[in-house]
Symmetry: C2
Subunit: 220 residues, 2 copies
């Protein structure tokens, strides 16, 4: 089944959610689901779901709905979860530690091979079976172990300072928790930014809106 070349990023961003929801359904022993039921669970419209899945050639049958496990496998294939992208992480503070310890990279298409931190007290200690290395080892490590992805759980200034070296190491794909903006300085890079403070501020807006509505209701 040919994947259309230009799938919009908003569709791509929904695929992991589909994958997650379908996994929940499979765990609950549900084998088949209509686009209406799936849409109610996911808070999307049924037509949105049909459109999304049509981008990849369409699944499901009129009147039958979707087969949960085969749709899930298909999405896994599209997302490339079977691939093993060689990945390093830089910054073993609390956030880096949480990520290394709690995310199952293997099941998500990534092969986390090495971790780095410039804290001399951490270097040489191990986490998840890996010995933490000093970032001065980056070039040596990457030339021996071709690496596609770097996870940056370091402050913005540190990310900016390391960026050129990472690019020189042949790494052009980043899961970026720092607030450093790669796109200002580099072209032809793939960057997935995670801005926790943006999410927090969005929550704040929504909470304030909610509280205003509640107050209006009370006053009525």
């Amino acid at each position: 089944m040919a994947v259309k070349p230009t799938v919009s990023i908003s569709v791509i961003r929904r695929l992991p959610r589909y994958y997650r929801f379908l996994g929940d359904l499979a765990k609950a022993g549900i084998n088949r689901i209509s686009s209406r039921e799936l849409s109610e669970r996911m808070g999307l419209t049924a037509s949105q779901i049909r459109q999304d899945l049509n981008c990849f050639g369409g699944f499901g049958q009129q009147g039958y709905g979707y087969n949960v496990s085969s749709l899930r496998e298909e999405i896994a294939r599209i997302l490339g979860l079977d691939n093993q992208l060689n990945t390093i992480l830089i910054g073993v503070g609390n956030l880096g530690r949480a990520i290394v310890s709690h995310l199952d990279f293997g099941q998500r298409g990534f092969n986390l091979t090495a971790v780095f931190d410039n804290n001399p007290e951490l270097c040489g200690t191990t986490i998840a079976g890996m010995t933490i290395m000093d970032p001065s080892m980056l070039e040596e490590y990457c030339s021996a172990h071709p690496t596609q992805v770097a996870i940056l759980t370091i402050p913005r200034t540190a990310a900016e300072a390391l960026s050129e070296r990472l690019i020189q190491c042949g790494i052009r794909c980043f899961w970026n928790f720092s607030h450093y903006d790669f796109n200002l300085d580099y072209e032809n890079v793939v960057v997935e930014n995670v801005h926790l403070t943006d999410s927090l501020m969005t929550l704040g807006y929504r909470v304030n809106e909610y509280l205003r509505t509640q107050q209006t209701k009370t006053e009525e």
Copy 2:
């Protein structure tokens, strides 16, 4: 300036980004920016930016552009960054610890007042000046300290098990890092989910696409 009642969530989600970019500009000593320049920096179209800001009554002047600091202040006001929403955090593992230690809640409109964890070795120890409490204290704490928001840095099953108690405590707004889906069980709740694995899987898709493109280029 009246805020139109129905601003779409995608506009809201961009506001923190505007706020961040304008902060960078202010730090760099830039006082004034055209929507074109702002759009180039942010990777949005100029017309998108004008549309976004028009949702809140419009700023900027034809031919002058935007005044960086007054636009930033206005966005801060819209986001409610001056508010102090009383907030608790549950789950002081690596992720909870990262969040408590590194995010400046006060500057984002939140007042983090208490942290909870059911690990007996953590209870009674302190983090960021707060003594970690056992979740059995939740009801007592919240009745003495009215709380609007809970941050959940706990596993899915723990979040599900606690959800009813939190709602009973009067908390209806959540920054949810667990994979528990509040919307399946509760109505009239405000939930900002952070699904790190969704972001990771999106990155995987994009990296695989990128590598395919590179390979095609090499073969050409």
